[in-house]
Amino acid sequence: MDVLVQLLINGLVAGSIYGIVAVGYSMVYSILRFVNFAHGYVAMIGMYLAYTFSVRMGMNFFLSAVSAILLSCLLGWSVERAAYRPLRRSFYLAPLITSIGVSFLLEAIALLVWGADIRSYDIPVREGLEVLGARITMVQIWIIAALLLSLMVLMWLLNRTILGVAIRATADDQDMARMLGVDADSIIVVVFLLGSAMAAVAGILLGLETNLQPTMGLVVTVKAFAAVILGGLGNIYGGLIGGLLIGFAENLGIWFIPAVWKDAIAYAILLVILLVKPSGLFGQRRESEVKL
């Protein structure tokens, strides 16, 4: 029983982290219709920036996290400007290939700056709470709180502000939004800033929950991608639910299968979904998807 609860908690934490990245992912996808492979790598850079500020420079952890998030926004924005915007009218594979290039570059930078060794934020593990026989550490409680907070901020922004409504409207129908006075280019910038911020938050939380490794970029990208597909491409909140499901599935999977297969479980789920319900759990089947 207590193991199960523990796994559920771990699943919740991991799942919400994936979910938060996935939301940023689907925002970018729904507006630009391209898969920004580099998204998870921005999370990884954010994770390391917080490390530099807090461990190397001895700043307060909270301040480090905030500065890391801000810098990641800057990174996301400059990548959009330098690498994606010039390609908007290029042939359809070009942005995807470029984003793979950007991912690769970010990982190389991380390797050069921080090295391949596993690092951690060196936050002492303090005694946590006992819930139904399982233990939640203080860090995990902080993670869950931070996740809830950032989700609330995001939802408030998307649902309650005119900017958020404009983002969702642009995702729905870009030309119509333009006819209503929305400058699509600035919306794209906002989406990149927002998405990068969410990615950095997720990256830092993931660093707290596990460790810091340059390969995290790929892990985050792939799982968020899977979460987005699971939730249905183009549905912003679908990614959140997809992320949670993947988090639970890979952690509960450990119940049946040795832990080393954890990552493979996520990918296997993905392949099965593609086979069975390719439009995702919450996506609508498009009429043009008749088998050729």
């Binding site: 290039g101 690769f104 390797l111 991608f225 088998k291 050729l292």
Partner: protein, 300 residues
């Protein structure tokens, strides 16, 4: 050293030519080519370690690779492009997990040492020079195979599907099956290349078949020009030389690996911004059925 370099170029050239069939000619964006490479390498290595002749192992590697291609193709080929990309990526990660965790079979991260070198007509191929010749023969065969394929009506059909699969279906082309066949052909070549690699290095471990490897192969194809087999080989020549060349700088291995990666990525991004269709671009096929062009002064 130069022999070693050429051998590697042979192997990567084969991988790139195979992937070009999928990405360049059929328009399916694959992020899992290293998986088929790995399947071939492990199949061939395990079979030969169990006593099978090396070339049988390589053939089996190709077949297993093609089966993997069928699996991915079958589940994703009828979906939108991004899904194929994702499906191949997932497949790649699953195969890597299998290589790493099925310790009873693959010895996991410890890898498989002592893979035998092949022998041809009783003559063992021991030296690097000999192996280089073997690799070049394989590369030439793959190139001939791929060129014949893309220049045949089959290749023309592949390109028509890449251009507009709905229109191709409306003309009676079996789009789904054709795509799967193309993916299988590409992964067959990757599987054989895997065998070639395993018996050359004589040691394989899961680290050789990661997503980064898939991306490296993809970069070779994109770099030379999608839909151009010679471009793929040129990509392999340049980038393998760059990659191996960096080893001579005497940097610590951790730095040189990262530097290498940084160089590719900058090359790739720069290329996309300047020449999104790759260095050579696509070959324009002028498959005319007549010689009347000269008679009437031609169309251009």
């Amino acid at each position: 050293m130069i022999y070693h370099l050429v051998t590697l170029i042979g192997i990567y050239g084969m991988l790139a030519v195979g992937l070009n069939l999928v990405v360049g000619y059929t328009g399916l964006f694959s992020l899992g080519h290293a998986a088929f490479f790995g399947l071939g390498a492990y199949t061939s290595a395990l079979l030969s370690l169990a006593g099978a002749p090396v070339f049988t192992g390589m053939l089996a590697g190709g077949i297993i690779g093609a089966l993997g291609g069928w699996l991915v193709g079958y589940s994703t080929v009828n979906l939108r492009g991004d899904y194929f990309c994702l499906g191949t990526l997932a497949f790649g990660e699953i195969t890597r997990a299998v290589f790493t965790n099925w310790i009873g079979l693959t010895r996991g991260p410890m890898g498989l040492p002592g893979i035998p070198r092949p022998s041809l007509f009783g003559v063992p191929i021991k030296s690097v020079e000999q192996y280089m010749v073997l690799a070049l023969i394989f590369l030439a065969l793959s190139l001939a195979f791929a060129e014949r394929l893309v220049k045949s009506p089959f290749g023309r059909m592949l390109r028509s599907i890449r251009e507009d699969d709905v229109a191709a279906a409306s003309l009676g082309k079996n789009v789904g099956r054709t795509k799967i066949v193309a993916v299988m052909a590409g992964s067959f070549m990757a599987g054989v290349a895997g065998g070639l690699y395993a018996h050359y290095i004589t040691y394989i471990d899961p680290m050789g078949f990661t997503l980064n490897q898939s991306i490296f192969i993809l970069v070779l194809v994109v770099f030379g020009g999608l839909g151009n087999n010679y471009g793929s080989i040129m990509g392999a020549v340049i980038l393998v030389v760059v990659r191996e060349g960096l080893r001579f700088l005497g940097l610590p291995s951790s730095v040189s690996a990262a530097l290498q990666q940084a160089i590719y990525s900058v090359l790739l991004i720069g290329l996309m911004l300047v020449r999104p269709r790759g260095l050579l671009g696509e070959v324009k096929y002028m498959t005319r059925g007549d010689s009347s062009r000269s008679l009437e002064g031609g169309g251009e």
